[in-house]
């Protein structure tokens, strides 16, 4: 019985999205916590480009790319499978203006946190709906 095929790639994509957004929230909380620390540089966590690559790669070729030898280190940033996506952490390399050299823009971090939270909640709802649809199909509609 193909149990794994039950959950198609959309469910995989959305769960990975949830993981990455939770991690993003941690980085944003760290930035907000250090809004008053002198000489602190804000960190950004980005993953949407990697997701786009993985989705496009999945559509183009049916077979996933396999490393030629198990000891080959895969190129960073070119994840072909959705579950391998890690996300990239960027640290800004300029000290902030102001007396204490702090580089955190509090309003922007709060805005990003709100957006992250909304998209996280949306992904949770989408995943819940998908599971509900699967359960309905299995039950046969009664």
């Amino acid at each position: 019985m193909p149990i794994d095929k039950l959950f198609g790639t959309t469910i995989e994509l959305v769960s990975k999205n949830l993981d990455l957004r939770a991690k993003n929230h941690m980085y944003l909380a760290g930035n907000v916590a250090n809004a008053e620390t002198p000489y602190y540089r804000s960190k950004t966590f980005s993953f949407e480009d990697q997701l786009k690559d993985a989705v496009r790669h999945r559509e183009e070729s049916a077979a996933p790319a396999v490393a030629a030898h198990p000891n080959h280190i895969p190129l960073k940033g070119s994840a072909h499978r959705i579950e391998d996506i890690e996300g990239i952490v960027d640290e800004s390399n300029v000290n902030g203006l102001g007396r204490d050299g702090n580089g955190v823009d509090l309003e922007r971090e709060m805005g990003r946190m709100a957006e992250n939270q909304i998209l996280f909640n949306a992904s949770v709802k989408i995943l819940a709906k998908k599971f509900e649809g699967l359960k309905y199909a299995i039950k046969g509609g009664n």
Binding site: T10, L51, V55, A137, G141
Partner: protein, 105 residues
């Protein structure tokens, strides 16, 4: 042009009777079974299309290409409702089929 000749040709295809002046309408000659199959098949493919559209919308939201949250929710709801509708139609069809088979002649 020899109209009678044309009519004769048409006669060979099984369509009889004179052609009315204002254009013709061919009567369907398909059987009811084919109609139902075709209709059901169309519905299934339409539901499949809606599901695929919903999946595409979800992908675009996840990769950040489109920020249209409401579009994604609407597409998902459409797909879900149409699927539930199709399931219920199928259930009712099965039920009526069983009902008919149970009828004693």
């Amino acid at each position: 042009m020899d109209i009678k000749g044309i009519m004769g040709n048409y006669g060979a295809y099984g369509i009889s009777g004179s052609i009315p002046a204002g254009g013709s309408k061919t009567t369907p000659t398909t059987s009811p079974t084919q109609d139902f199959t075709k209709a059901f098949g169309d519905a299934v493919s339409k539901v499949n299309d809606l599901q695929n559209q919903a999946n595409t919308a979800i992908e675009q939201l996840a990769t950040g290409e489109s920020k249209g949250l409401h579009e994604v929710m609407i597409a998902m709801e459409k797909a879900s409702i149409s699927f539930q509708f199709l399931t219920q139609v199928r259930n009712k069809a099965m039920e009526s089929y069983h009902e008919i088979m149970r009828m004693q002649v």
